[in-house]
Subunit: 199 residues, 2 copies
């Protein structure tokens, strides 16, 4: 005999497929949903059902959006001559918490030969097209600082140089609140190289 009635089994099986949720967690969530108000379950269920249908990629910057073009690309108050290139759309969210007020370009990943992801898989061709139209004052390369992110940054830098587009790379160094004693040598080397003159 199955452990749970079929509707529960089905929900547990579906929840288990999500990251960080195991059998026990899926059971706990299912029990919770069974004791919740149907109104709340309806809201959650429909939000999941309709998520992908309501979200698309912005035709300009490739960020996720409900409307076309996205809220950032259509915001006339932003600095439209500044483009920040990031790997994923969630990086946009993180950068939006800073003072940055330019536009973005979401690559949709990073160059990773091991996983078969080359420049053609990413939205680099679209970036080049955009640069021809927009003629930005500066392109900021804000890919991650892991190997693939650095490879992607290097590739983009060479490309932008050949196109005569002014560009920069976000700074490498010690994160705020960290101690020198606990920082790895590679970060420290880059923090020393990137030191700023104060006086």
């Amino acid at each position: 005999m199955a452990l749970y009635p079929k509707p529960l089994e089905e929900l547990i099986d579906s929840l288990k497929k999500l990251p960080t949720i195991g059998q026990r967690g899926a059971e706990r969530l299912t029990f919770h949903l069974l004791n919740s108000q149907q109104e709340e379950n309806k809201t959650l269920g429909e939000a999941i059902l309709n998520l992908k249908g309501r979200i698309k990629s912005c035709s300009i910057c490739n960020n996720i959006t409900e409307n076309e073009p996205c809220a950032i690309c259509s915001d006339e108050k932003r600095d439209r001559k500044l483009i920040c290139v990031v790997e994923e759309f969630c990086d946009v969210t993180t950068l939006e918490k800073t003072d940055y007020n330019g536009l973005y370009h979401v690559l949709g990943g990073k160059i990773s030969p091991l996983e078969g992801i080359g420049p053609d898989t990413l939205k680099i061709k679209e970036l080049v097209e955009r640069l021809k139209m927009d003629e930005p004052r500066e392109v900021i390369i804000a890919t991650n600082t892991d190997t693939e992110g650095e490879t992607t940054a290097l590739y983009l830098s060479k490309l932008l140089k050949s196109l005569n587009v002014p560009h920069s790379r976000i700074a490498h160094g010690l994160p705020l609140g960290s101690s020198i004693g606990n920082t790895d040598q590679f970060t420290l080397t880059q923090a020393m190289e990137g030191r700023r003159k104060l006086g």
Copy 2:
């Protein structure tokens, strides 16, 4: 400006209401669902939407079920003269992993004066009705061993005694694989009291 497009915000808000899921976890799950196949999201969304509509309480034992009566109550191969009383339906699932082959009665909670839960709130009246009809050989009280569970067990024991129904309480003692050195004094006291003669 909102951090995410509205469909994402709505899903994150809904997920955050679930136990053990915070802002960061809800974001991660939402990103995952955004990259999942729509077919999988449809299965999950519909399982949540339809859960409560497809599940009801068994009119006999109060366990959750899709069909009436539940699979356990309608299983003629089980020992129908043995009734195990538990607090919640999830306790049934756990006990089903053992050799137990009798029926169940789900109280739907435990006596807790602090939370305003008295015997009348629980399915005790229904249990008494059932005992008159079924005349079981034995009722096993398998409530939890916390204060409220013990209070409920005591209450049930008195009630069953007054009705002349043979009944028992699941054993208290050391869980399998535990060491005496790490066991609290209350469990040890009960393990000593409940000791079994071997020779």
